[in-house]
Amino acid sequence: MSVQQARPAARAGAPVAHAGPKRRRGWRYAGTVALFLLPSLVPLTLYTLIPMAGSFWTSLHEWDLITDMRWVGLGNYAELVGDPDTQAAFLHTLYFIAGYLPLVYVGGLGLAVLLNRAMPARGLLRGVYFLPVITSWVVVALMWKWLLNPASGIVNWALGLVGVSGPGWWTDPDWAMPSIILASAWKDLGFVMIILLAGLQAIPREYQEAAMVDGATAWRRFRHITLPLLSPSTFFVVVISLINGFQVFDQVQIMTGGGPGGATQVVVSQIYDLTFRYGRAGAASALSWLLFALVLLVTIVQIRGQKRWVTYG
């Protein structure tokens, strides 16, 4: 669930660190390498790899957290695949992504283009738009819950002023997911903006100037120069946002708790409920692995597919 930890995919064509004469370096060299890797390898092993192995083991059992584990083999997986609640959770997650991804990308791109121009207080504005990114989800979710409160929220009050009767937002199953999408896009807008802004600034000015000399309109320059040259940043943003989208949880838990009537129950909230409400840690672990498999698959497809549309320098 962390945006910050991920790094851009290695750039094709960048010099590769270990290139050089291929020969056995011997144990001494391996030892040196291991020593340098240690600071990141130890936490990775302790807090990611071992727990992952543990969760896989748990996924093969029925376990209520208080009694002994009972071996069920692949039973949890078999049950989940046919379970309507699980299917609904995956559908809701995809619905979230389908709404969130375009919104956050287009919004972030607009902001980035806007704040790439010379204007007063540009630095301040960039900071302001980035503020939600570093704000705790609890704060943001509670704020949006209040803004979108059907009875006393400011949004419905404002809609009322112009004669529109606002929807039930997160209390209405049809509007609950859009409410969460809205809050999520708002929070992550600044992150997308910052990445794209950096991408925009890396585009050499000469290309734009050359196109201007050739008489290209602003739209054509944007469409045929900016967008293609921005594609590595776009690729990174899409990969990260997709992974974040699959792991959506905090905002759902706080804004709707999966409701109303299960309309916003996403995969991770299902994992949470299975473990902590229903005492089914085994099934929850199995679901975690299903989610992991899906995210892995989607990411591989994206990385394979990037050749078709991502232009490097």
Binding site: A53, W57, D64, N149, T171
Partner: protein, 425 residues
């Protein structure tokens, strides 16, 4: 399964699921300090926020009698309590003693998480002296002939009403003889949506449903407990009764807007005429600027009041069984605990001593305290199954679908019954 695997599993679940769950103080270990004093941890949901002081008074009295024991109280709100308890048991840091309610007792007792109190109850004449308890309360926390927990308190749900609103509208106040029809007629007269005044408030959820179901003469499970029985004419009647209030005499989900304690605040602000809630609300209503009272809840073909039972159990892993027993016993049956609960209008002590209980009636507010005891004459106990929480969630979810008008009551009950049958399967 070895302990190591369990620990690895616990770490794995905690880390991979990476939720915002903080175990807080429930993970603190038990220690005995230098003086040989035993630290006994007690985890509770019923004390905070209104009765922390009252629990502290009981604790001090206990520590005076048992100078070698230092009781450390940890509290959590009810909706987080069982998550924390479960995680601390899984993590091997279970509190020595903890509160359990009747609905969850079976889960924990059958999981082997509870200490058989008979094994630590001392020997000789003292032994397992249970005469202080009301027998039906004691039996509720017995399993396979073993006493796994001691009943500590109980409470019932009654109908609260705002007398001023009734008088102003010229509607006669509720009596013990009321039925649903009387309640509905009064609620319609008292509702004034323009002024934000509502006639009635009864949450549409599992706990209200099994009770109204019994009031309508139905049963939640078949007598052998193996199948659901609520998808019946009585079930439809009960669910319709609950659902029909929403948006008419009671605010809708959107109007409530997820506000915490919405109904409590509505009643306190004098804008709710009738309120189905528990006697644990008495203390909080002491200073409201209007006249209010309580009455046994109206019934349909029969009366049935919800009774909630809380008990004290000891963890099967505690190193201080004797002390745990002493504390559990003190908390549940000592005169100090009983009078503290009564005087602070907390919940009722499950004791057999009628004289102590009579003290409950002396408090002037609400005037009709007798209704609390009357409500015990015909009670509805919640159905309890192994996958309790899933059942409660499924029923509540389907009922709220019906309440919001997205499903017919019949379809909602049918869907809920299918889910509950699967959980029993």
């Amino acid at each position: 399964m070895s302990r190591h695997v369990k620990i690895v599993g616990a770490v794995a679940v905690a880390a991979l699921l990476a939720t915002a769950c903080s175990q807080g103080s429930a993970t603190r270990g038990t220690t005995a300090d230098a003086g040989g004093k035993v630290t006994l941890r007690y985890f509770t949901f019923s004390a905070a926020p209104d009765h922390v002081k009252d629990l502290a008074a009981i604790e001090q009295a206990f520590e005076k009698e048992n100078p070698d024991v230092d009781v450390v109280v940890e509290t959590a709100p009810f909706d987080q309590y069982f998550t924390k308890l479960q995680t601390s048991i899984a993590g091997g840091t279970a509190p020595d003693t903890f509160e359990l309610n009747y609905e969850n007792f079976v889960t924990y007792a059958s999981a082997g998480s509870l200490l058989d109190l008979g094994t630590v109850a001392g020997d000789g004449a003292g032994g397992m002296d249970t005469s202080a308890y009301a027998p039906e309360s004691l039996n509720a926390f017995k399993r396979d002939g073993k006493q796994y927990a001691l009943p500590a308190s109980f409470s019932t749900v009654v109908l609260f009403y705002n007398k001023d609103l009734f008088d102003k509208a010229g509607v006669p106040v509720p009596t013990a003889g009321w039925t649903w029809q009387d309640e509905q007629a009064a609620a319609e007269k008292l509702t004034d949506r323009k002024k934000g005044v509502y006639g009635d408030f009864q949450p549409v959820q599992f706990f209200e449903f099994y009770k109204t179901l019994k009031q309508a003469g139905g049963a939640f499970l078949t007598p052998d407990g193996k199948k659901s029985a609520f998808d019946s004419p009585q079930g439809v009647k009960a669910a319709t009764w609950l659902v029909s209030k929403v948006g008419k005499t009671m605010p809708t989900e959107a109007e409530i807007g997820g506000t915490a304690d919405y109904d409590t605040n509505l009643f306190k602000s004098g804008k709710l005429a009738m309120w189905h809630n528990g006697i644990w609300q008495f203390a909080g209503l002491k200073d409201v600027p209007f006249q209010w009272d309580v009455v046994v809840e109206p019934g349909d073909v029969s009366k049935a009041s919800a009774v909630f039972h809380n008990a004290v159990a000891a963890s099967s892993t505690t190193k201080h069984g004797k002390q745990a027993w002493a504390w559990a016993r003190f908390l549940s049956a000592s005169p100090v605990a009983a009078t503290t609960r009564i005087q602070s209008s907390w919940e009722l002590p499950p004791i057999s001593d009628q004289q102590v209980l009579a003290g409950y009636l002396k408090d002037p507010k609400p005037a009709n305290r007798q209704a609390v005891f009357d409500s015990l004459k015909s009670i509805a106990l919640p159905p309890v199954i192994k996958r309790q929480q899933e059942m409660q969630d499924a029923v509540t979810k389907e009922l709220s679908e019906a309440a919001a008008g997205r499903k017919s009551v019949q379809d909602a009950l049918k869907a809920a019954a299918t889910e509950v049958d699967a959980l029993l399967g």
